[in-house]
């Protein structure tokens, strides 16, 4: 069964289309990272899953239920860490968790979950005095109450210090091990890398990529960057390297050539350079960083090319 299923979903607000014809499927038990820059439509999508916002077109199905008609039933089985929420300043952290327990009609004590998010010591303080990170932990505690089948975390790491980010990652992993589906959004790529089975990248309301991290890495095309240091980077050498099949781009930086190429063409690149009369002093490879990958998807003029269909204009770029 699918945990979240969006079919042809469009959401228009006055003057702006926040989400455009979106198809998205999250399988039960998977950890799905929902990526995109701020304003890409991630929160609007999550709001539609939670029935805070109704789609202009299309259908949203969550845990087998219609998102609008059966929203309460969905939320009974879903833990949510919303984005841009605020707490009840006058109520204690413990009272917040008790409220979640009463609301979900489960029979558990608040202490274990407060302990789990690291708030037990501050549980009796008013939440109005909590730091941003503590509020985030509190909302996570409320989300975890009742062992939900689906966890929806909207920008869960915002406001957290590095230790908090690590705790959050561990909790996500533990929940996934328990069998929960985890759907979380982020504009920071590093957070999804370690925990996600699959990643979807949203840009201007459209899903521009959806794959595993490895799959995305391949799809970006610039599989690796080869740094080749030669004695003299003449135009002839540069042209020779450019001509190698599988090389998409060559930049000369002094005597160093930065070669974007498919994995496995390294030896041919070096051979081509030497054939053109250069002496190769040094070379090493760098994997395309995920950050490059993310930027390629979210800032480029379109969907990045799959490797193989080399675009000639980029060779001279």
């Amino acid at each position: 069964m699918t945990a979240i299923d969006l079919r042809g979903v469009t959401k228009e607000f006055p003057g702006v289309t926040a989400v455009r014809d979106l198809d998205l499927t999250v399988e039960e038990g998977e950890v799905y990272g929902f990526l995109g820059p701020n304003g890409a439509g991630k929160s609007t999508t999550i709001d539609m899953v939670l029935d805070l916002v109704r789609p202009s077109e299309g259908t949203v199905t969550v845990l087998g239920h219609d998102a609008t008609a059966d929203s309460v039933e969905i939320r009974r089985r879903t833990g949510v860490l919303p984005d841009g929420f605020s707490v009840y300043d006058r109520l204690s952290g413990r009272r917040h968790v008790e409220f979640a327990i009463e609301s979900k009609e489960v029979d558990v004590e608040p202490e274990p979950v407060l302990e789990r998010v690291g708030l037990l010591e501050d549980a009796d303080r008013k939440a109005g005095g909590y730091s941003k990170g503590m509020r985030q932990r509190l909302a996570l505690a409320m989300a975890l109450v009742g062992d939900p089948d689906l966890l929806i975390l909207d920008e869960p790491s915002s406001g957290l210090d590095p230790a908090g980010v690590k705790d959050m990652r561990e909790i996500v992993a533990a929940e996934a091990d328990r069998g929960a589906t985890v759907f979380f959004s982020s504009h920071v790529l590093a957070q999804v890398e370690a925990v996600c089975d699959r990643v979807g990248i949203l840009r201007e309301g459209e899903l521009v990529a959806e794959d595993s991290i490895e799959g995305l890495r391949e799809a970006v095309g610039d599989g690796e960057t080869l740094e080749v240091t030669v004695d003299d980077a003449t135009d002839a050498v540069v042209d020779a390297v450019r001509a190698v099949e599988g090389v998409s781009r060559v930049d000369a930086d002094g005597d160093t050539l930065l070669v974007s190429c498919d994995p496995g063409v390294k030896t041919r690149v070096i051979a081509a350079a030497e054939d053109a009369g250069a002496v190769v002093d040094d070379f090493h490879t760098e994997e395309a960083s995920l950050e490059d990958l993310f930027l390629a998807y979210t800032e480029g003029e379109g969907t990045p090319r799959r490797h193989g269909d080399a675009a000639t204009e980029e060779v001279d770029a």
Binding site: F13, L50, V72, E73, R75, D83, G84, R90, A139
Partner: protein, 271 residues
């Protein structure tokens, strides 16, 4: 139960607000001042609890101040949470929007009722201690009417709060309702009835009947009618019994209709 979970949360949140404590203190002080004003002057004079309530506390504090407190307690119920973002936390839990609106009416209504009792309690203690004849039954009973009026205005204000997106608009709507019912009702209805006197004559009702209806339709005058009947031992008895029943019906109407109307809008909104 979802509705009661929301009500309980909102009750606890409301009674912890500093504004609430201030209002109770102010209210207590004012009731005490009025009690002092009508204290027995001569030797033989009886202290009349009923007089204190129906002539002093009633017109000024109860019909004037309690509805205002109700509006203040209710106006930010939904719109305030919407503006601050705590509504996202609330609706991440399995509550329907109807449970949110009516849970808030119950929770904040209960908080206001408690505040009204607290506000009347302190002056009552003073009156019991000082050597005057004090009719505790009348005093306590009257408090129930005052609290009821407050709850009606909480319900109206929560309805406004659910219907609009911001706290400010909810406050404007709430103050508008207060002004209509408390300050301008006679003037307003007089004008309307005057303007439609022609068509009204064609109806099988007299002008007097319409005026009576309008009087009972206003929750403040409805409560006044009921409370005075109570103080005169004429509750649901005597010549005004028909009007008392209409007043009760209208109070029920004003408690349910505004939150329902607000909910209709709130249900359709993107939050």
């Amino acid at each position: 139960m979802s509705l009661l979970a929301v009500a309980n949360k909102d009750f606890q949140d409301t009674v912890r607000s500093r504004g609430m404590v201030l209002l109770v203190a102010l209210f207590s002080l004012l009731v005490a001042v009025f009690a002092y004003v009508v204290r027995p002057q001569g030797q033989a004079e009886q202290f009349a609890t009923e007089l204190l309530l129906s002539s002093f506390v009633g017109p000024v504090l109860v019909t004037g101040l309690v509805p205002l407190v109700g509006v203040v307690v209710g106006y930010n119920a939904v719109s305030g949470e919407r503006e601050s973002g705590s509504l996202k936390l609330l609706l991440s839990l399995p509550h329907s929007r109807a449970d949110v609106v009516f849970g808030k009416v119950i929770g904040r209504g209960a908080a206001l009722a408690l505040a009204t009792f607290a506000g009347f309690l302190l002056p009552a203690l003073v009156l019991i201690v000082v050597p005057v004849t004090f009719n505790a039954g009348a005093f306590l009973g009257y408090t129930v009417f005052a609290a009821t009026l407050g709850v009606v205005f909480v319900a109206i204000a929560v309805g406004c709060s659910a219907a609009v997106a911001t706290r400010q608009r909810a406050l404007i709507a709430g103050i508008g309702v207060y002004a209509l019912f408390v300050l301008l009702w006679g003037l307003f209805t007089g004008r309307v009835v005057g303007a439609f006197s022609g068509p009204i004559e064609a109806l099988p009702v007299s002008m007097a009947q319409i005026r009576t209806f309008l009087d009972a339709a206003n929750p403040t005058s409805g409560i006044e009618l009921l409370a005075n009947a109570f103080l005169g031992d004429q509750l649901f008895a005597g010549e005004s019994v028909d009007r008392q029943i209409s007043a009760v019906a209208m109070l029920v109407f004003w408690t349910l209709a505004p939150p329902l109307a607000g909910l209709l809008k709130f249900e359709r909104d993107d939050l």
